[in-house]
């Protein structure tokens, strides 16, 4: 079954928002075995939206729209859908009441406009919106058996409606189409070319499963995608290929699918029953925040000190003043003292010290923006790494955080 996603909304055409509905729907639909072959974005313009929907209906069996179900005059997706399929619009009483209730419950004043959300194409299936006021709509074209599904634009409303109602409709109405399954091996530390070189025999040999390399915020993801009659068979195909690739990438793979670097560090700390504390300067708490993104991180993260000023570095983390005076706040020695100091103060198994120049200012003749020192102190002694990162202040903060977490991961793997 071929699906086309039609995203409506002038804000998309103006580039003022990133479209996250399309990847969400595409990923879920593929998991269900539907083929999303086209995605189109069009603005809130009747004529153009109608022609886009017509094209979509010509080349796909199922057209899923997102957006344009709201109360404003700019919300025209339902009307255009109805017009294309020659269905008159009528006021759907139940929806009208739901909307009225919603406004009463949330003590909001309701305008007549809001009732536009209750106008429905004749014969349409109305889909409840559990997170908002705009119901979804499913309209079938009798002559062809093709279907247009109108979903709301707000991502959480669209996702909830899709999971709660659309999946069951699609699988009932069209049956399951076999399954495309993907697995991502997340790697860090190897360049894309070097990584490709290591597994090129599998990349060139690929048919099913397919292999793709994707660079993602400093990580390189190896995506294995298999298609088979059932999810089990697809998974089996993936397991076989992963078994062949894994030894070639080995220590560079830190996680599978949604397993982030901080999750993998957390799992190691838990498994080894170790605790950690950080002294962060240039990262300003970002590394600690990432560590605490993981549920249960309080079992191993005791706390951290963001020592942005030198006073805090010396008074609260215990970096000797003369080290800062002679070596500088951004130096291997300071990073090491930060790691040792925070570990001692917080009585943890692991201490981490991070200091660097995030920029855009603060560079000196021999210390450029992007120079970062990451030190780790623990039962295996103190190690320190020097990095020169490129990019904006944000880039440097994020690359430093990722590198720091990976250094901790390797330190933990070796004790």
């Amino acid at each position: 079954m071929i699906i086309e996603l039609v995203n409506t909304g002038t804000e998309l055409l103006l580039g003022q928002i990133v479209n996250t509905n399309a990847p969400f729907l595409a990923a879920r639909l593929n998991e269900l075995g539907f083929s999303v072959l086209y995605q189109t974005t069009v603005g809130d313009n009747r004529e153009r939206m109608k022609s886009v929907l017509k094209t979509a209906l010509d080349r796909a069996n199922i057209v899923i729209t997102s957006g344009g179900l709201g109360p404003t005059q700019g919300d025209i997706t339902k009307e255009v859908t109805a017009a294309l399929l020659n269905k008159p619009m009528y006021l759907h009483e139940a929806s009208a009441e739901r909307i009225q209730r919603f406004f009463t419950e949330h003590r909001l004043c309701m305008t007549d406009n809001n009732l536009r959300q209750a106008m429905m194409p004749e014969g349409a299936q109305i889909i409840e919106n559990t997170c908002g006021t705009a119901p979804g709509v499913i309209v079938e074209q009798e002559t062809t058996g093709k279907v247009i599904i109108n979903l709301p634009g707000p991502p959480h409303e669209l996702a909830a409606m899709f999971e709660k109602s659309i999946i069951s409709y699609l699988t009932k109405r069209f049956g399951v189409q076999g399954a495309i399954v993907s697995r991502v091996l997340r790697t860090y530390g190897l360049g894309e070319a070097a990584l490709e070189e290591r597994i090129k025999q599998y990349i060139s040999a690929q048919s099913n499963p397919t292999l793709a390399l994707l660079a993602r915020n400093g990580e390189i993801h190896v995506r294995i995608t298999a298609r088979a009659a059932s999810e089990t068979e697809s998974v089996q195909l993936i397991n076989e290929l992963e078994g062949q690739i894994q030894p070639l990438l080995n220590e560079y793979i830190f996680g599978i699918d949604e397993e982030t670097m901080e999750k993998s560090v957390g799992s190691l700390l838990l498994a080894k029953k170790l605790t950690i504390a950080l002294a962060e300067s240039c990262t300003g708490g970002l590394v600690t925040s990432r560590i605490t993104d993981v549920p249960g991180s309080s079992q191993y993260l005791l706390g951290s000190i963001v020592c942005y000023s030198n006073t805090v570095k010396t008074r609260d983390v215990g970096v000797p003043e003369e080290i800062i005076a002679t070596r500088g706040a951004v130096s291997q020695e300071t990073a090491e003292c930060m790691a040792q100091g925070i570990r001692e103060r917080f009585q943890t198994s692991i201490g981490v010290g991070i200091t660097g120049i995030a920029g855009p200012d603060g560079a000196t003749e021999n210390k450029p923006v992007g120079l970062v020192y990451i030190a780790i102190d623990g039962s295996a002694g103190t190690v320190c790494y020097e990095h020169y990162f490129n990019g904006t202040r944000m880039d440097i903060k994020h690359r430093t955080a990722l590198a720091a977490l990976n250094h901790v991961r390797h330190y933990l793997l070796n004790i």
Copy 2:
């Protein structure tokens, strides 16, 4: 001039990556006065890509593709473009040499595949890629004067090529089309409905400039978009409407365009010559990290303590043990002691204490996941706010961070 963006790449159809090229190109093109009326995404399939490009060329004057210029067999965008416009492909010597140089310089092994990147449609204009190996291509259809522009898929390569070469080509070749300019008023604290209610007369009256409300990670953005012959005239139109709306939203507006909440807090601290330190528990350093995202934040942020464990709360931030024992670690009293403790310890003008339950675990009978206390201590005394946030652990962390920064902003506005 009507433009259609055609994004190629099976990973987009599989929903494995979010498309950031389309919003980037759309935003820049609109600023230049071009109308992006359609965006289409298609996979690496010759037949479907050709039909999509044909449809695009029928309804637009300029078609800009992204992706599919790489060395692999799956990279077919140039070939399909050439086939559609009936141009044979040939090996472009200069590009071949550039690619060979690139591999030598970066000490990478080059495969014959890489030379596919040097195959060009006859008569095409070759655009240098300053960030990668795949050159861009501009091909004109003599009969219609319409144009297809092939850009590489990696966002930084695409952006660099667009800024460096494509803008000048478009403006020379098609002339500037007048200017669409947008300005965003960033608000926080008013619900979308309440906000719409306040400015509804302007929303219903809108024609040029237009007004749009966009909910963005807890903020609501009021986007004013004007179109006029020149940028100056567009800006003038925006200024007039902003002048009318501003008094109605007033203290809820914290920033304009790219001015984030942390930037606005930083500007207030700088202007009032004040310093700040935070004691963060449930946010794990996220608020401090956001504050340090702003260049020059070291002028007002001295440091913070992430006091995840109760030991750190008492020993390092000075929260009395009995407060935690009697009121609990997540309580107004603890938050207030954290704010006062960190302010005293770090000798800052402002101290902030944040404690809560980020979930998914940790809830008690009368303390649900999402319960957060944010306290601020300063010359105006200690204040504390209680919040009940919804969503995932990450949602709660981010909503807490935003609320905390906004509370600090209001505290600063009133001293």
